[in-house]
């Protein structure tokens, strides 16, 4: 994947681009995305993939003007427009899924294919989503992965979660990235999406890891019920980071959108 920059109304936006095929826009989760992400590679095998970074993620510029859900939604539409894309397949994971769903709800005629992978955006008092913002680094792998040990190795590229080098970078990155994500996820990752889901017209596939401990799979039913005609693909032995634990299975589910 190649890292590029596109100018938008608010701020220059960094994005990864790669692959050939139908246009696909991928919106990353609160943890961000890198050029080496195997999920991007899997999507790029059959698609022209564009994965913009939320301002403040990676090395991209922060954007104080993007404060609330509508700002995030319209800004991301601005990015799609700036890239000259028309009706791309829209894919979002976790926070990215929340943004993608909002985009499809506010401009239902501009998106005909939508994939939501363990998206945030709904809240059920009986199944509270864990507080991502007070979790300590060493607690993170068990929350995000079906296989916590393997997950820890993925998160840290082999370093210990208590290694000072890992921690320093992790905390600075978190302050920037989760600081930005907090505008739509803190303290409860819900900004009224439930009342707008009905507007989505896109052919939609919802993908969830069976052992997602961050956003429990029960939330899949809320999305399925809210989006007419949507399909649910449940993936066994995968947690919230299903895109890393069962990369090909998720790519296959997206492929059903055509």
């Amino acid at each position: 994947m190649e890292l590029k920059t596109v100018q938008t109304h608010h701020v220059p936006v960094r994005y990864f681009e790669g692959g050939r095929g139908p246009d696909l826009v991928y919106l990353h989760g609160a943890g961000g995305v890198t050029a080496e992400d195997p999920f991007l590679a899997a999507l790029a095998a059959s698609h022209h993939v564009v994965a913009p970074l939320v301002p403040g993620y990676g090395d991209s510029e922060e954007c104080p003007e993007i404060r609330d859900m509508l700002d995030f939604t319209l800004h991301t539409w601005d990015v799609v427009a700036a890239l000259g894309l028309k009706d791309p397949i829209l894919v979002g994971h976790s926070m990215g899924g929340m943004i993608a769903a909002e985009m499809a709800a506010v401009q239902p005629n501009d998106i005909s294919r939508l994939a939501l992978i363990a998206p945030a955006g709904l809240w059920d008092d009986d199944h509270p989503i864990a507080d991502l913002f007070s979790i300590l680094p060493f607690e993170m792998p068990a929350l995000l992965f079906h296989d916590a040990e393997a997950g820890a190795a993925i998160m840290t590229s082999g370093l210990s979660v208590e290694d000072p080098n890992f921690l320093q970078t992790y905390l600075v990155t978190n302050a920037r990235q989760l600081g930005m994500a907090g505008r739509i996820l803190f303290p409860i990752p819900e900004r009224g999406l439930a009342s707008r889901l009905y507007r989505i017209k896109a052919k939609t596939v919802i993908v969830w890891g069976d052992s997602d401990k961050l956003i429990p799979p029960t939330y899949a039913h809320g999305f399925k019920k809210g989006i007419a005609g949507s399909q649910l693909v449940s993936i066994p032995e995968a947690g919230h980071m299903v895109i890393l634990e069962k990369t090909q299975a998720v790519a296959d589910a997206i492929a059903t959108l055509g």
Binding site: E139, L167, Q168, A175, G179, F186
Partner: protein
Amino acid sequence: MKFTWFNLMPWPYLPDDFRETNRSVWVDIDQKLFDPVKSHEVYNTYMDLLEYADTLGFDGIGVNEHHQNGYGIMPSPNIIAAGLARRTKDAALVVLGNSIALYNPPVRVAEEFAMLDCISGGRLVAGFPVGTSMDTNFCYGQIPSLTREKYAEAHELIKKAWTTREPFAFNGRYNKLRHVNIWPRPIQQPMPPVHIPGGGSVETYDFCIDNTYSYSYLSFTGYIRAKALMDGYWKRVEERGAPDKSPYRAGFAQTICVAETDEEAERLYAPHIDYFYNRCLHVYPGFADAPGYRTIKTIQTGALSQYGRPQGFNELTWKDLTEGGHVIAGSPETVRQRIEELAKGLHVGNLFCLMHVGNMPAEKCMYSTRLFAEKVMPKLRNVFPDYADDGRFWCKPIPNRVSAGSLPAAPSRAPIPAE
């Protein structure tokens, strides 16, 4: 120097194994540890102690705001201050402060502070903290990376509400108000003095310097560790071109315990110091700093150890705490020397004396307080003779004040009109 007697109002009944059996003293502290019936006496004793400090000649009595916190059972300092306003005569009511980003609309803070100023006859010293991440983000749900913006707007609104003499419209991002017209308004003109608690960010230094507010460093780790931070503040005061370096531009909180001798101080106060430093300050590190609350620079210079897997806790001993300056304790002469060292070393004119510590019973607290007032305070009054007349950072009460119990005798028949 100005001495303010401060009470954090810690819950005195945390169990011995609190640290082992609880994740945090703050945010998600176990509900079962609070006993409302016991709190009846705790609150009243704590308020009595604040009133006692007034009778001994402290310049101020101080309260602050914390939420869901086992060492500060004062979510609304204004309620405590209202009680104190009625029952005290001379001391400034130092409310340090109201976390103004939390109130919607913040006009409420302008109103309540105005009420306190009116009831007390102009004795309010107001405080506007941004608030800790625990209180502001984790308890009160403010979005971390927008907290400071919201704070700045709240400050602008409160200041304008206090100083504008006709109704005005306020079209803020977080507050849209068509008719701002606070009624009552404060006695002190143009507005009460303001102290800002801060933790070392240059933005807060500049905010204080530009508005002529006093910068308060409220730490529990004492004056020795505070040197670098306060030096940074004074350097900034100079760089920013402030007209003077009055020590009253700064305040500092210090735990203080006085006895007849150093040995007696250890014997009397060590258990309560231990309770506070080893039990009350047990905060889950995940609540310390919601991502986006602090600046990148602060994180880069900060310690990382707390973000690792919890290790065994090293208890701080009396020796550690007194030698490290967390606690200034001992005979009146020992305490006097060390506070003089603090005042001159940090160049601080406003001292917030943390004299009720942990689970200290009232009689010990009164003993320490009285010795301080009689044998320490008088000798330190004039540490900064050049700035003796600097009244910019302190309240200006009206001369003829009434207090509780000023009604005439109950009339036995219909009062006769004066005319």
